[in-house]
């Protein structure tokens, strides 16, 4: 029919008759729809189905997160989970009733014995909370009453890459947005002159596993939510500084002209992406000033340098990054992700773990104390932990002076401080072998839900529709661990 041809050519070419015939079908299907879905026409007067973006769903306890990620999985048996039974039954085979068919990695699955190995160091109780902490972490021991140790974490993955991807994105398979990106997407930026999600990396001498930018990728979210890796040294953000011979006023000129052209294009197409591109250029221009200012730790007084340890003056160390993290938090960065590599102690654990602990112990504790004296621990949540735990049995030759521990997903320990988390709490328990969680288990999804709750986000409400369905950081799982909240 001619009408249809007209219509195909341009949707606006329909005539009156056509309009009414379409309308009747439309109204009919609306009526049918309202019968099938009673709430179809319900106004948003109750709880809106989708929350507006860039605003917390409810009043948050924490405004920002500093995540001290210990990549490679530090052993809970040499840090926060004290198991005297392992010393009593040292060298004995792990009872099958405890292992209960748990899969092992290829690295120890071939072992014919799983001899129990006690901690390579001693434990003591600290603070009013009586928190057990190993001698490897004497500085963290000093803040025992400020932190909450969760000894009942458990995860699904048993190898580094899927486990760390799971921890960062809520999925073992890469491609989903990182939790920092979700926070940026849900809460927007506190300071428009800095990215809302920043990543800092450092590396210890211990056995390392790779870190990939997919861990701080924004996945299917807008790329402005992607984590920005700040490098140590002269150029914290690559290509941010002007090339030689270009002055700041030249740059301003250039941006003005480019923005004029972009605006013309925007008028023509009405594409909102163009506006966000203009905004990104402007932010990069402001970051040329703000980033070097934030990254410059030369103005920090000597007392602060001593607090974090002399290392903090060496760019690229964990201590330097920890101090940097405080400065970024002060400047309104929502999510500051540190990674410290080198915690994968399959062998040489006593030596390597002591070295790793030395890298992070003082600076981690100093960060918490520094935040506290600045009143920032009230609204900044600090998390310390790895992607899974390590086995209670020895990997390789049984030698208490030089042994290793394999990967263990069923139970491990992390600690948190500040930002609406109860201080001085010892949460969750493992059995006497430290192998299984026996009280208050916290799954990675639960951890994510709790973190989002502290930030004022409902993990079930913050969604993004992609490829035909809505995604969440916690996907279809996760419960807020209310016990941890102050």
């Amino acid at each position: 029919m001619k009408e249809d041809e007209n219509q195909k050519e341009n949707p606006l070419k329909g005539n009156r008759r056509h309009f009414f015939s379409q309308l009747s079908v439309g109204i009919g299907s609306l009526a049918l729809g309202s019968l099938l879905i009673p709430d179809l026409f319900k106004g948003g007067n109750a709880q809106p189905l989708t929350q507006p973006l860039g605003i917390p769903h409810f009043a948050p306890k924490a405004k920002r997160v500093i995540y001290l990620f210990q990549a490679g999985a530090p052993s809970q048996f040499e840090s926060f989970d004290y198991k005297p039974t392992l010393r009593k039954r040292m060298g004995e085979d792990l009872p099958e009733s405890i292992r209960n068919g748990q899969r092992l990695t290829g690295m120890t699955a071939g072992q014919d014995k799983f001899p129990l190995m006690p901690a390579a160091t001693n434990f003591k109780q600290y603070g009013d909370s009586g928190t057990w902490i190993s001698d490897y972490f004497p500085h963290i021991a000093k803040i025992a009453d400020d932190i909450t140790v969760v000894r009942s974490m458990h995860t699904e993955a048993i190898n580094h890459d899927p486990a760390i991807t799971f921890f960062q994105t809520g999925s073992q398979i890469s491609g989903r947005p990182s939790m920092g990106s979700w926070m940026s997407y849900g809460l927007g930026s506190e300071n428009k002159n800095l990215p809302s999600f920043v990543v800092l990396t450092s590396r210890g001498k211990g056995n390392s596993q790779g870190l990939y930018s997919k861990l701080w990728s924004s996945g299917f979210l807008d790329s402005k939510h992607q984590g920005v890796l700040l490098r140590s040294g002269k150029d914290p953000v690559l290509y941010l500084n002007d090339p030689d011979g270009i002055s700041r006023s030249d740059k301003r000129h250039l941006l003005n002209e480019v923005s004029q052209l972009n605006k013309l294009h925007h008028v023509e197409t009405g594409d909102d992406e163009i506006e966000s591109r203009i905004a990104q250029y402007e932010m990069a221009y402001r970051m040329q000033m703000s980033v070097p200012d934030v990254m410059d730790i030369s103005k920090e007084p000597e007392s602060i340098v001593k607090l974090y340890g002399e290392d903090c003056q060496v760019p690229g160390t964990y201590a330097a990054n920890a101090l940097q993290a405080r400065r970024l938090a002060e400047n309104g960065v929502r999510f500051i992700q540190l990674y410290h590599q080198g915690w994968d102690q399959h062998g040489n654990l006593p030596n390597a773990m002591a070295g790793q602990a030395k890298d992070v112990d003082q600076a981690s504790a100093a960060l918490v104390m520094d935040l506290k004296q600045r009143g920032m621990l009230e609204d900044t949540l600090v998390v310390w932990g790895g992607e899974f735990g390590r086995t209670n049995y020895c990997q390789g030759k049984f030698d208490p002076a030089d042994f290793g521990r394999d990967h263990h997903p069923r139970a491990f320990s992390i600690w948190m401080a500040g930002g609406g988390i109860k201080p001085g709490l010892n949460y969750g328990k493992t059995d006497e072998f430290g192998y299984n969680v026996i009280e208050n288990p916290v799954h990675v999804n639960d951890f994510h839900a709790t973190l989002m709750h502290a930030m004022g986000l409902d993990h079930e409400q913050l969604t993004y529709k992609y490829q035909g369905r809505r995604f969440r950081l916690t996907d279809v799982a996760g419960n807020v661990v209310k016990d941890l909240l102050a």
């Binding site: 860039g54 009043a59 340890g309 002399e310 002591a354 004022g456 016990d483």
Partner: protein
């Protein structure tokens, strides 16, 4: 049809049913119903609507002097009798009849019997006399009361109460877990069915003894064993399950409420346990605290509307204005140091001053002008003016802020002269004053006067010395 209804057997049926009803009511205690008859009682909610409407229509016609169709009266009277009898059957399902049910039953019986009398009168042509009219008036009143009591039996006594903003009992400072928390949940979600009037499943949930007694399905609670407690099990069933409690259509318990009941049973279902006797790591502590704390947003609910466009106009790349939460008109403001700072940008926020509850001016070269503006933010609870050049004279301006809870003034040039200002801030909870001219003695005095205030004077020197001393990690060999 007309002929059938005029036949004598209609009279006999009405007479027979009336006698049967009287018999039931009199010999209530001696009657045990066969299952099938008891099942007939379930039809009571269906048939009861007919006599209500038909009797009212008939009485209305009679009182306004219009003829009452014979058929209408016959059907009204028959349905009234059937309703009363089925109601009696249904009432037998309840072991002990409460007050409501007692009155409902007797008034319902009275309605049915009076309707029969009416039929008798009309048969004799006496229904237009004073007796007939009086009877009709009494019937209207009785139908109303019976229906109302019946409604209260099914929907709960509070059903028709005016919609007051259902205010639950406040939880006291150190609550008794059973009386103030558990019973509060049960009262709210369970007792509307498990009370003396309804006693569904032969279970009463009105006090500890009845809870321990249990109902038809056995142990409602087994102290210390949530897994064996019928109550906890039913709460955890999927919503679709027939056995799930509360049943479909009633408000289910929240996750937190279920957890509270579960932990309470696990801890031995004590009716004397107090909140402060719970160990710190007990999950109940957080759960009960969650119930006790009022919604932090409610105090800002009365703030007038502030438009997003206003926030956009006042904000800039260096001045972020955010709502504290979506649907809230309370604002949080962060100001960062721009290349060229001008106090005007801060002072321009004067029109939203009453909305600002959090304000961060740290690290800015602020002076008297900005502090005058801050003094206007009457709802301010959180203020950061650390690392600024302010001194005692500027700080004094804060004296008018009555709601301040959190104040960062470290690295400023304030001195002991500012102590009286802090003393007068009754609601102040956290104060940060390290790197200022304030002396330790003055702070100790302040602390003594205001014991709930937490004053932070920097890191404990002893701990700081430990950190400065350097590494003490002993590498195990």
């Amino acid at each position: 049809m007309t002929d059938i209804l005029k036949k004598r057997w209609v009279d006999y049926t009405i007479l027979g049913l009336s006698v049967f009803l009287v018999f039931c009511l009199v010999f209530d205690a001696y009657i045990v119903l066969p299952n099938l008859v008891a099942w007939l009682g379930r039809w009571h909610p269906l048939v009861l609507h007919f006599p209500i409407v038909l009797l009212l229509i008939a009485a209305f016609l009679g009182l306004t002097g219009r003829p009452i169709p014979h058929r209408l009266l016959v059907i009204a009277v028959l349905s009234a009798l059937l309703t009363a009898i089925s109601g009696f059957f249904l009432g037998k399902e309840v072991a002990v009849k409460g007050n409501l049910l007692f009155w409902h039953q007797w008034m319902g019986g009275a309605v049915a019997l009076m309707a029969s009398v009416w039929y008798l009168l009309s048969d004799r042509g006496l229904d237009r006399t004073v007796y007939g009219k009086g009877l009709q008036v009494v019937l209207i009143v009785l139908v109303g009361f019976t229906g109302h009591y019946g409604g209260m039996v099914t929907h709960g006594e509070e059903f028709l109460a005016l919609p007051t903003s259902k205010k639950q009992k406040e939880i006291p400072e150190n609550p008794i877990v059973y009386t103030d928390v558990v019973a509060r949940i049960l009262d709210d979600k369970c007792v509307s069915c498990h009370n003396a009037n309804k006693k569904k499943g032969e279970l009463l949930m009105i006090n500890m003894a009845e809870l321990l007694e249990g109902g038809k399905s056995g142990h409602t609670i087994v102290p210390g064993e949530p897994l064996k407690s019928e109550l906890i099990g039913r709460l955890h069933l999927p919503l679709e399950n027939e056995e799930h409690m509360p049943p479909e259509g009633k408000t289910p318990l929240t996750d937190a409420e279920i957890k509270i009941l579960e932990r309470w049973v696990a801890l031995g279902a004590s009716d004397t346990l107090r909140f402060d006797q719970l160990p710190k790591s007990e999950p109940l502590v957080a759960l009960i605290k969650g119930l006790m704390e009022p919604d932090p947003m409610s105090k800002w609910a009365d703030l007038p509307f502030v438009a997003d466009s206003t926030l956009q106009n006042l904000g800039s790349d260096y001045l972020t204005i955010e709502r504290v939460a979506s649907n809230s008109n309370a604002l949080s403001v962060d100001v960062y140091l721009p290349p060229e700072y001008d106090a005007a940008a801060v002072v321009a926020m004067e029109r939203i001053a009453g909305h600002i509850v959090e304000l961060d001016l740290s690290g800015l070269p602020i002076g008297a002008a900005e502090m005058d503006f801050v003094a206007k933010c009457q709802n301010l609870e959180w203020l950061e003016i650390d690392k600024t050049p302010i001194g005692d004279s500027e700080l004094e301006k804060l004296a008018s802020l009555k709601n301040l809870k959190f104040l960062k003034t470290y690295a400023t040039s304030i001195t002991d002269k500012s102590i009286p200002v802090f003393e007068n801030m009754k609601g102040l909870k956290n104060l940060y004053v390290y790197q200022t001219g304030i002396s330790r003695e003055a702070l100790e005095k302040l602390q003594a006067k205001n014991p709930t205030l937490s004053v932070n004077y920097g890191i404990d020197p002893e701990i700081e010395a430990f950190f400065v001393a350097g590494d003490s990690v002993v590498v195990a060999k």
